[in-house]
């Protein structure tokens, strides 16, 4: 079987499938260990209860569902909350070492909208620790990895997915993988926007490929803005400033020096959910209280230089090196940046199976767990929990099915698409088209949306799609990033269209989706998810009802509502800027 993507989800899936006895190949666009998972900084959410003993999976489940504004798949949220502690402990058996409590257990820190201190972390480089541990495990198990290979088309035998086709980035040669099952773990699509914390890889190609093959894309309109990205200088705009800064006690002020989160969310303050904090910063800037470069100040000076350097070393380094700001002496200037796609391929909660047989998805490329807004730290646990589940399910599936038959015509077709930019007398520059798409999405489908701007954006996307057929790239197929960008562009346009079409139809404000022309939630829309699907190479939209909570889980919310706060009093003080011993 084939795993596309070697981030946290892909590697965890490969490990599990290999354990189930399947012969696994992992394909990744970059070198091994460079996937976007390394950018995760703050931590991994798991209700271990090491620091706040009252924490448990039920509370984590409720936090996740509330954060997602109840359009999440409850079953995914339940499995995620139940299984993430085990996955974290398991990661340590692969060699990871999290920061520790004085008595030797895993230390946990506070994070936005988590009731208790719940994020297991390693300073501010948790993602690196995770990816390195999984990578070591992959190497130890001898799993086959194909680095710097891009796959662009799923091969089908009837309705069944039986492999994938693409090219080798290094020499430009074409490659086809024949597989009984394919797992898509290709991450998100932040690169569709201009100001983003995502790397070049986040082009939505895995989801685009699944969409082309006929799988359903769930909640595409839900794109998360991380409240704190770097603002200045322009070269670093969008680079992530981890939520751990606020988890460790950093606070936000406007140009008047006022701590404005006290007003927007007096209870959770800076540790409110990401959509709320991002919107608050946006509102402050709109009201003329922004900083010099249109953001807010994030201040950690009160923590003291020692603690800053110990708990936030890479933030210290990042600002010192890239922005000439010593964060022990000056505040950081921050503004919202595109961070995460809550939407993705629609999957079955238990198995990660998509609507196509033989096709699975996990991690950011899959959807359902996070609903309308993801909580910080839930993505890393998502990768492990559902990576493992997809790996196990696909591993079991391949035992029962035969090899499919590859249809050469599909390969020919894709080769033609791939070769077009090199041979055609086109005039369009793929990079510039990509930049125009990013600008259009930033302006039209960004943090604050309205019907008019969304429709303008949709027109621009359709026009760019026309022009993308005339892309031309000089040079050969040998390591030619321009050629690679030309194909990525098609996926980006498909996903962008799905985002905008769904954003137009969701005429309400919910979670990350904020409509200036519909500021309130609409209970009717709260009962549906939008689905984008492929019909005759067109992006079509339909709705599906949100899966209904079973009685015993619904009861958790009822109980919580009758006994506020959501937790017994002794531990009800948590997200107060933290007092964990370090």
């Amino acid at each position: 079987m084939l795993v596309i993507g070697a981030g946290g989800a892909g590697m965890r899936a490969a490990i599990e499938a290999s354990a189930a006895g399947a012969q696994v190949a992992v394909v990744c666009k970059s070198l091994l260990g460079k996937a976007h998972t390394v950018m995760a900084e703050g931590g991994i959410a798991a209700a271990l209860g090491n620091v706040d003993p009252d924490d448990n999976w039920q509370v984590h489940f409720q936090d996740t569902m509330r954060g997602g504004q109840l359009i999440n798949n409850w079953r995914m949220a339940e499995l995620h909350a139940r299984e993430s502690p085990e996955r974290v402990y398991e990661l340590e058996t692969y060699g990871a070492i999290f920061d520790r409590t004085p008595d030797g257990r895993i230390l946990q820190r506070a994070f936005g909208a988590h009731t208790y201190r719940r994020l297991c972390h390693v300073g501010d480089r948790t993602g690196l620790e995770m990816i390195r541990s999984l990578q070591d495990r992959i190497v130890q198990l001898g799993i086959e990895v194909h680095m710097e290979v891009t796959l662009t088309r799923l091969l089908k035998d009837g309705d069944r997915v039986i492999g994938a086709f693409g090219y080798n980035r290094v020499d430009g040669g074409f490659v086809a993988f024949k597989a009984k099952a394919v797992i898509i773990a290709t991450g998100g699509w932040g690169r569709i926007y201009k100001v983003t914390s995502n790397s070049w890889e986040g082009t939505g190609d895995g989801v685009g490929m699944g969409f082309d093959a006929g799988a359903e894309v769930l909640d595409p309109e839900m794109v998360q803005f991380h409240p704190t990205g770097m603002v200045w200088p322009p070269g670093v705009r969008g680079i992530l400033v981890t939520e751990a800064v606020r988890g460790e006690g950093g606070y936000l002020t406007n140009s008047e020096g006022k701590r404005f989160m006290l007003e927007y969310d007096p209870k959770k303050k800076e540790l409110s959910s990401r959509d709320v904090v991002a919107r608050s910063i946006y509102k402050e800037v709109q009201a003329g209280r922004g900083t010099e470069h249109g953001g807010a100040n994030l201040d950690v000076r009160h923590l003291g230089a020692d603690k800053i350097k110990k708990k936030l070393p890479s933030m210290y380094e990042q600002f010192l090196k890239l922005a000439d700001v010593d964060i022990t002496k000056d505040p950081m200037e921050v503004a919202p940046t595109i961070h995460y796609a809550m939407g993705g391929l629609r999957v079955e909660a238990e198995t990660g199976a998509t609507t196509l047989s033989g096709l699975y998805a996990a991690g950011e490329a899959a959807a359902g767990l996070h609903g309308a807004n993801r909580l910080g730290g839930n993505s890393l646990s998502d990768l492990l929990v559902f990576g493992r589940r997809a790996g196990a399910a696909a591993g079991a599936y391949v035992r029962d099915v035969g090899q499919g038959k590859i249809d050469e015509r599909q390969i020919d077709q894709e080769q033609k698409i791939l070769l077009l930019p090199l041979s055609a007398n086109g005039t369009e520059n793929p990079y510039l088209l990509q930049q125009q798409l990013q600008q259009a999405m930033q302006d039209g489908a960004g943090l604050a949306r309205e019907e008019k701007s969304l429709k303008v954006c949709l027109d621009q996307i359709l026009e760019l799609r026309q022009r993308s057929a005339r892309v031309h790239v000089p040079g050969s197929r040998k390591y030619n990033p321009g050629w690679h960008t030309a194909r990525d562009l098609r996926f980006m346009l498909t996903v962008a269209e799905a985002i905008v079409r769904a954003a137009i139809e969701r005429r309400e404000s919910r979670g990350a989706h904020w409509r200036l022309d519909y500021l309130e939630k609409d209970p009717a829309l709260g009962r549906v998810n939008f689905i984008a699907y492929n019909e005759g190479s067109q992006v079509k939209l339909k709705t599906r009802p949100v899966p209904e909570l079973p009685a015993e889980l619904a009861k958790l919310f009822a109980d919580a509502a009758s006994t506020p706060p959501p937790s017994p009093p002794p531990a009800a003080k948590p997200p107060e800027p933290q007092q964990v011993r370090t």
Binding site: K34, V38, E92, T101, E317, N429
Partner: protein, 361 residues
């Protein structure tokens, strides 16, 4: 290549002049580009500008653009650096020369074939906790702290690029290189790892090839003290296990007790059910008695150790002992060695092999 220099139309102040290496295994030379200066611009931004506007097919690797993934390694004005972390304004009006890492075979432009590193990595036996180690793990903060430094490595391979053993002698068969010394150190110093890798260090990994010029730690973008904190302690361990006469005798008298370099069992567990966290002559730090430094003399049953405690009289070292302590009374997180003047000096001492008289036993 093209004679005329592509120039940007919009400029704020003087444009930046880049000389980027272009070419592949057949031929190559630098090509001149002018890029408009933007405040806070890094070399990677400038390369991206060139890619988007002048040379769509310019090959370079990059991912995070925030110095977290280690993809955009290059040689900038002759120095191995990350392009995403190198500001263009630090060069003033000088031209910026950007070339590929020279220690690895060129693929195209700024991209090199680094696959050798991944092959080396496969040869290092991985993390091996005791089979009966209870999960969830308990590890004390003071025992884990030291490992974090090694695990900060982002695998940019700049240290491999600058390592003169790999670079000048163009011989990659004798030494794994600094990156993999850091990796081995991370495994060896993991509080729950039970495997011995000193045989590998002595043999194929070739820790002896390093003669401590510290070039690697100078270029490390993560500021890992590769030589001081990884290579030197590994040299010590290796020397202890391989050359130490006391250990040799102990090995003869009590086969299977002390580690046997080169004969590690394939699963690396060496028959141990109880993880032995220290090797003979490891430098450790007492958790009590003023956190003094000590050196492990013998490994005793029941997780006990015989240690010799270091007293410094000016610059003269005096080892006082033996004292019997429990395994848990000492930690291998002993902080920077330079602090007390041990470290490289001790390595020299052990490698010369004629130190038995002045040492415990």
């Amino acid at each position: 290549m093209s004679a005329k220099t592509p120039t940007a139309t919009t400029t704020s102040g003087n444009p930046i002049v880049l000389q980027i290496f272009r070419g592949d295994t057949d031929a190559g030379q630098e090509q001149r580009f002018e890029v408009p200066a933007v405040e806070g611009m890094v070399v990677l931004d400038a390369v991206h500008y060139v890619q988007a506007n002048f040379a769509n097919d310019l090959a370079c690797r990059w991912n995070c653009k925030a110095a977290k993934c280690g993809s955009c390694s290059a040689e900038i004005n002759g120095r191995p650096r990350l392009m995403c972390k190198t500001r263009v304004d630090e060069f003033g009006d000088r031209e910026i020369h950007v070339g590929p890492m020279r220690t690895f075979p060129l693929i195209k432009d700024l991209v090199t074939d680094v696959s050798w590193n991944y092959e080396v990595n496969k040869q290092i036996p991985g993390f091996a906790p005791a089979p009966n180690e209870p999960v969830p793990y308990r590890m004390l903060p003071e025992d884990t702290e030291r490992v974090y430094e090694y695990r900060k490595c982002i695998e940019c391979f700049l240290c491999q690029d600058v390592c003169h053993v790999l670079r000048n002698h163009d011989d990659k068969s004798a030494y794994y290189g600094p990156r993999y010394m850091v990796r081995i150190a991370a495994l060896e110093m993991h509080p729950l790892d039970t495997r011995k890798r000193t045989g590998l260090l002595h043999g194929k990994a070739g820790v002896g090839m390093c003669n401590i010029t510290k070039c690697c730690q100078e270029v490390c973008p993560e500021h890992i003290k590769i030589t001081d904190n990884a290579i030197i302690p590994l040299k010590e361990r290796m020397a202890t296990d391989v050359y130490d006469p006391v250990v040799r005798i102990a090995r003869k008298l009590r086969p299977g007790r002390a580690s046997q370099p080169g004969s590690e069992s394939p699963d690396g567990l060496a028959g141990a059910t109880q993880p032995q966290r220290f090797a003979v002559k490891d430098v450790v730090r007492l958790k009590t008695r003023g956190r003094r430094f000590a050196r492990v003399g013998r490994l005793l049953p029941d997780g006990k150790l015989e240690v010799w405690i270091l007293h410094m009289n000016g610059k003269v070292q005096h080892w006082d002992g033996p004292k019997i302590v429990r395994n848990s009374d000492v930690t291998n997180n002993y902080g920077p060695l330079d602090e007390v003047g041990i470290g490289s000096k001790l390595v020299e001492q052990y490698i010369t092999e004629d130190h038995a008289a002045e040492q415990p036993h």
